[in-house]
Symmetry: C2
Subunit: 328 residues, 2 copies
């Protein structure tokens, strides 16, 4: 356990470094605290032995280590209530009735991204949690038609397909069957049901059933596993830790691989989670702060991605506010 003074020093260093990413020396700290720089140096040495601080070279000031940030988040930070101005901006979005929840969330994350200069992410529910609500087919011309799939959570996806020498009637028959027999099925099980329940039936009395079956089969198996919405991707570039291209490349590539992002929301519980550096799968130099939300039928995860020296106090406060407002 840290002494009171050690806590004070660690907190000071972390916050100063978050505000301005240059190593913090004993002199600066001693001014903020009632003792000499020598005393601070001793304490800093202690904190370094505990693994909470690091030096960039033998005679540099100190920088928080990953464990240091962890300790800060777990024990030292005081979550900030949002200021009135920021709150107002978000209220503008929340006030807007008529917007569906997912649009409200995306819009407010846009606002947050601009206001904090961090990247944000919304993850929808996964495909096994989405039930097929309805399939619609809309002919575009002789050969082309649009297939639209709607899930119970309002996730809509469409695909244009080309069917040659197939009559619209036959297609509509098939769609009718699908809607009658397998709506209510989790999306990722539709493929199977299509094969074992629909295919045998249409085999008998739908002409060109092979072609139609294939088309629908692909539409469903190509269905996005999880809606992932990244807002303010370029904000990452504002952070000084991403001034070299290799770093940027890594992070951007990771953001594009949805699997990585999905790994974000593996935890079950409902709290705000902070994943610092190695604790996340994206990059050692970033922190992910996230929380699940759930409102009625709708659920998902929102996350804020920034450098390790993120403004934890503000971000956590912000997410608390978001969560509260979404679920209310």
């Amino acid at each position: 356990m840290l002494s009171e003074r050690q806590s004070k020093i660690l907190k000071l260093i972390v916050e100063r470094y978050i505000q301005d990413p240059i190593p913090v020396g004993s002199k600066v700290v001693s001014k903020q605290i009632n003792c000499s720089s020598a005393t601070v140096r001793n304490e800093m040495g202690e904190l370094e032995k505990l693994g909470l601080l690091e030096k960039t070279h033998t005679s540099s000031g100190r920088v928080p280590s990953e464990a240091g940030y962890r300790y800060y988040v777990d024990h030292l930070m005081e979550i900030k209530k949002m200021n009135a101005e920021d709150m107002l901006k978000l209220q503008m979005v929340f006030r807007n009735q008529q917007l569906a929840l997912s649009d409200v969330i995306t819009k407010s994350l846009q606002v947050i991204s601009d206001m904090m200069n961090y990247t944000t992410v919304v993850l929808g529910s996964k495909s096994h949690e989405n039930l097929l609500k309805q399939v619609e087919v809309i002919p575009l011309d002789d050969e082309n038609l649009t297939v639209i799939i709607v899930t119970d959570r309002g996730h809509v996806e469409h695909k244009n397909i080309m069917l040659k020498d197939v009559s619209l009637e036959e297609v509509k028959k098939t769609v009718g069957l699908i809607n009658n027999l397998i709506s209510g099925t989790p999306i990722d099980e539709v493929g199977k049901k299509l094969e074992f329940e629909i295919k045998p039936i249409i085999g008998n009395y739908v002409k060109q059933h092979e072609q139609i079956y294939n088309a629908f089969y692909h539409v469903f198996t190509d269905f996005t596993n999880q809606e992932v919405n990244i807002v303010g991707r370029n904000k990452m570039l504002e952070q000084p830790e991403f001034s070299n291209v290799e770093k940027i490349k890594n992070v951007f590539n990771k953001l594009d691989e949805n699997e990585i992002l999905s790994s974000i929301e593996e935890d079950d519980d409902n709290n705000i989670k902070v994943y610092i550096g190695k604790e996340n799968n994206i990059d050692d130099d970033i922190t992910v702060i996230q929380t699940k939300f759930k409102k009625g039928n709708d659920e998902g995860t929102i996350a804020i991605i920034g450098p390790k020296r993120m403004e934890y106090e503000r971000v956590v406060g912000l997410l608390e506010y978001m969560k509260e407002n979404i679920e209310r």
Copy 2:
């Protein structure tokens, strides 16, 4: 007009610089051409006076100027046929029947982006060219429903909206009216028609018409003006000219502003166009090579974005091939 030798020298310099971005000296050139380095130096001086070459400092080798690239593209380059291997990769995509055109294009641009390390863009037709085909409404629960808009070109967009205390019947009535009265209208005129043709009617015999009208009005006015699909955005980061963050920031931000991209396809005719450096609106250090395509009802633009020292011969050949295959 350039002498034959000057042309040869310019071509050599451009191509060498494209392959490897270091200034080209007279010695290297003289080896490839049948004369001494001194002669080459004289000619290079001449080409510099003409504004086709530049020096990075008084005693460096030469680098093509923007005009130099322009001249190269207009007069010197010999468009390359695709090699068998690349052709095969693309054929794999084109062969796939059942895929709608837009999917074929996106998939093949993905292939191209990987194979060339450039960013690619597909622009769909603009909203004034898209006619409303059909509106569908699918209820999700008591309060939420999904509105789906389909255009004649198969552009589908949906929006979830929340309507409190409105019966589904009323909504369906309205949708029926829209489909009967204004399908066939260019999307960006739907708002107006909604106001002057639908609103007065539903005003009379639809309860809650105000709320319903507003919801639909917004769904249509929020309709994306033009589908923009950027493929391989991160490939930009592979190019040495984008090794500094400011550059990256600028280009990425521009890519996100769709207006800029739309300005890409201002030209009317049907040829392959090359916009080098200042000739495009994105960034002085990049080149955009683009072409319109048109197949039946469907049309749009595909573009390849890379550094100014782009492999013009290959890219143009590739676009020719793409265009041909799309339109066939």
